[in-house]
Subunit: 359 residues, 4 copies
């Protein structure tokens, strides 16, 4: 259940870590848009494992094939099925998990919910599930870029307690983000973050971090009161990404410590329309985009699967020590960057189509 | 659009600030549950304006009437329509807003989205929209309490930069919360918070804050992978409340600064089942409840409508000074407490019914 | 559950036969449309009981009040709550039903589904549920008329085995339909139908019939492949009306007896666009409107509640004889006419808004 | 849009006639059910083209692969992706259609709706779209059979004006249905129907027909008032199958010609529970199953694509004569049998899971 996201621009994902394939069906993409695999592959490449020493060793080409919905390089307006094979599976790495659920992982809850679980333990909580999202998000992003000029950029803002000095959301771009393996556009911070991740890896431990994201040129008027407010759908989208612990729009928790006289964003006249002088609102007021950059942050916990020995209990309650094998990321934020962008694109794409009902 | 929340336990809210009535239709409430208005009114009373010097002066009894779905004090399993009249309306207070949109309020975005807006400006972004949610949430809460023993308690954790020392989520209860007008169960902090709110009010300014919430005795196994993970639906629900800026589950943003070896919650055997020794997970792993208390925080911004003069521009871009009249809360968190509880109950009620498909 | 219909133009109905009120919430009606109760009341008046000797004696004014979503006579784009009080209730009429379920009525199935049922027996299967639909449908119809010139007319095509000679769907109008109490625009047939209904009533029996409906000026391109094809949504909508037994689009079952060479509708050039020479398709091809009149029929069974003694069994399986008291229609088709029109308007309104995503 | 069907047991289909693959994603299938391709393939084999002289010559093995959601022969409760390659494509057959839309086919409406269409003309209106439904339906059917003993059998009741004498819905089975290529369990009628289809084919013409279906052992209490009544969802499901023109539940249009005293199904006590002596209701009362066999009929028009020359106009309105090439069924009802069964299973599977919320 609930592998579908979106009302008009809808994506349904499928696939676990160790089945034949993962992917998605995108229903609602507008017709007559140029589309082929090369529009989708770059974001998958940014997401895929084995890119650097900062990520898991699992080797997957993650090459996408469009099965339907596109003919002669044009979308038909019909469902676009996206297919990515699973290749480098090592189920043996997961045998210990049959009896001992990993602390803070989904092994236990999947077993309790379904009465069964995939050999890899966490079933759909696997990072491989996000492949379908990233592929679908690349399509949404292409639509938004061509239709409205929307420009979405996410980056690593912090790793553990190392935070990059404020990156300018007005100007940051993907080239700057990809200049370092950790995907922090501040080179000095990036170097320290990378050292911290390598150290965590060598200690068989893991680290958390924060991804920030800006969406520029979002049209005014997107977001559906009441329950599908722009920030509400963003929050759902981001908190549906594995390992997320928090979400902030605009000023976020810091905004809760401010007075209204400081926090309010005064209107000004700029570029021929009303804008705001500051952007504590994060581009959204009353659940509806106001034309300023949409800005948000997502907190990721340290990955639960670590090589360090952990004292825990098995499914029967007997004491056990777990030292996980397998190939896992010591820190997910570098690879989370394209996932956050994809989910943002899926949210905005859906809200953009929904607003058309009023035109 | 999107005034409906939930898949099986569904609520649809209606009403603006200055129309004849606000309310909700609850569809999917299980049949044969004892229910009458007195089960709903207490939470509405905790939400309603005019409770103390900390809240707006608007006077509304907010008495709820059940129009349908209940007969002889029992739910029929059919839609329960909930009706609350609007009485104390002063549209004159809003006349200045016709030409000057309030900074950081929804006046501008509603106008841009719909090409029209209610005389009160922000339309459905009005706090009165939340009446329907609170009434519906009281029904969901009653169901959850009786079916599973679920116990939901929210409280004010901070106002501005005044934070209460850690409240124990295992034991905090509504009596302790309601012991002070500000709804912070730490008396010393409460006194300081109240002083800060009164000071803000006297300065014609406003203040933000944070509401924390715990849901105890949530059954194991609730939450629908992928996009309706428990925390994802909670995040959507909370970020759909007016004036919210952030959401954290369990460790939240602080968790992003930790190592996995510290952050992981080891399993232990307690009370005849697997539990965890710590609860950084906030009661949810892989999007599914694990039986520990579900714990989360919600950040609220300072209210946008303030009496202090603000330099801004009108809808035509001409410079204007706005000093809002009308009756507004200087700080929303005390009244947000029952709203957060209601939305939590709606999320859990829906997930509980959805999990039944697997039984 | 499932008291909501539509994806973008959504209606949620509420209310049983003997609760305080019935009504609906319409979410998604476009903003800036002139609307007041007088736009809605006429269709409710056509639906309400007590209009003639052909209908039940229950006396209800069924006066509608708009509670929200409209200000200064204009829609705001926010939910429109519609309220109609229940007044003339006689629960005593239903006491016998407590132990003996009416044959072919919903008493038994509601009891089995919910473990409880309303005192009137069939709960939401009551004809009074349709009040919310008719009110909501009047709003959808006004939108469609003003935006596209859509013109929806339903009429009684047959009562029992009395069928009116073919009525011309290109020209039939509501004035002709309402010229007789039975709502058959062929006066000669109408007289015979009315006599048949009166005879059934006098015999304490009931009669079925068929309602036909045409929707003219439906824009080309409405209908969502695959599962929300135009005719699929129409079929769902019509078969959700109480007492319906069948649905036909265009040629219907008669079409199944034809050869393709006869059944195909050749394209012709007319009025500056492609049209068809015949209309066996009923205005829909491949699930999408083609610009020709949408034409369909709906079969209604004879009402289950009759005064004639029926041999049956009680809930415990003991033999019983049931002769229903209460006030019931001897034939529902005259009052079903505005209900069919309303549901057609709700289907088309929703599909029209959904097609906008492609513009 | 709207390639998804179902609320809890959900299927999303994808694929056109001439893309790489067709298939479906099934989300919501209960976990721990034994499942492999051999449970699905038989219904696909009954649906596939080239089975006999009565069907199109297109050659497709239509072998299904399960990509996800099943491990070690057991369902995981996660999305089951189903994949069927398209192989025998002859786009050249469709070149004439580029300029001349086929009468009563979807070429014109797809072009008008999307501004583009697949080379095969009707895009998702292709019969190949139904492959995903049949595969998904086989899974739903297996669940229903094992959980409740539900037994679904469809058959050809008429071809053109040749109707089989009443087949007994209490006893008819698939073996009897498949005894003849036309899938009419009455051998004498079957022979005449087959001759009629062959004659239509030789005349380069086509024929319509009616499929009847019975669902036995459906649990009491399924169906969601108001808009998702059992018969309403069945009607939507059936009318979403290509080429359908009508739907009847129980007595259908014939019921509209009856009196209530004859049409009502008296309750009797049988097999330890309440049942009915007759079944004009078709197993459904008030939108909810009553435990009697669910019985319905679906009318199919004669296929639009015929070899006979038809006078029509091209997209520009110029007179044209169209004699379609390509491989098309002269009559769809024999192959529609498993499609009707699949859609029935998807409806019942979804309603069965939804009813669990009340247990």
């Amino acid at each position: 259940m609930s592998s579908t996201f979106g009302t008009l621009f809808r994506v349904t994902t499928f696939g676990e870590s160790h089945c034949k394939a993962v992917g998605a069906v995108v229903d609602g993409c507008p017709p007559r848009m140029a589309l082929s695999e090369i529009d989708i592959q770059p974001q998958l490449d940014r997401r895929r494992p084995g890119q650097s020493r900062l990520t898991t060793d699992r080797k997957e080409a993650d090459a996408v094939t469009i099965l339907s919905g596109v003919e002669n390089g044009q979308t038909l307006g019909t469902p676009i099925a996206l297919f990515v094979a699973n290749r480098d599976q090592r189920p043996a790495d997961y045998q210990a998990l049959q009896s001992v659920p990993r602390p803070s992982h989904a092994d236990f809850t999947y077993q309790m919910k379904y009465g069964i679980r995939a050999s890899s333990g966490g079933g759909r909580s696997s990072a491989r599930e996000t492949i379908g999202r990233v592929a679908a998000g690349a399509i949404a992003e292409k639509y938004l870029r061509e239709a409205f000029g929307v420009d979405i950029v996410a980056w690593v803002e912090s790793v553990g307690d190392l935070a990059a000095p404020r990156i300018d959301p007005e100007t940051v771009n993907r080239e700057a983000v990809d200049a370092t393996a950790v995907r922090c556009p501040d080179a000095h911070s990036a170097a320290r973050m990378q050292a911290a991740i390598v150290a965590a890896r060598e200690a068989a431990d893991s680290l958390g971090g924060v991804v920030a994201c800006v969406c520029r040129q979002v049209p005014v008027g997107l977001g559906e009161p009441v329950f599908d407010k722009f920030e509400a759908r963003l929050a759902q989208a981001m908190m549906s990404i594995p390992a997320t612990k928090g979400f902030e729009i605009g000023s976020g928790f810091a905004g809760s410590r401010m007075h209204g006289s400081r926090h309010n964003d005064p209107f000004i006249f700029k570029s021929g329309r009303l804008g705001t002088a500051t952007n504590f609102s994060g581009g959204i007021q009353g659940g509806i985009s106001n034309g300023e950059p949409v800005f948000f942050r997502v907190a990721f916990k340290p990955p639960a699967t670590i090589g360090l020995a952990q004292e825990t209990v098995d499914f029967d309650g007997n004491p056990a020590v777990l030292a996980a094998k397998g190939r896992h990321d010591p820190c997910v934020v570098p690879r989370a960057v394209p996932i956050v962008e994809a989910m943002a694109a899926l949210v905005i794409g859906d809200l953009a189509l929904r607003q058309k009902m009023r035109t």
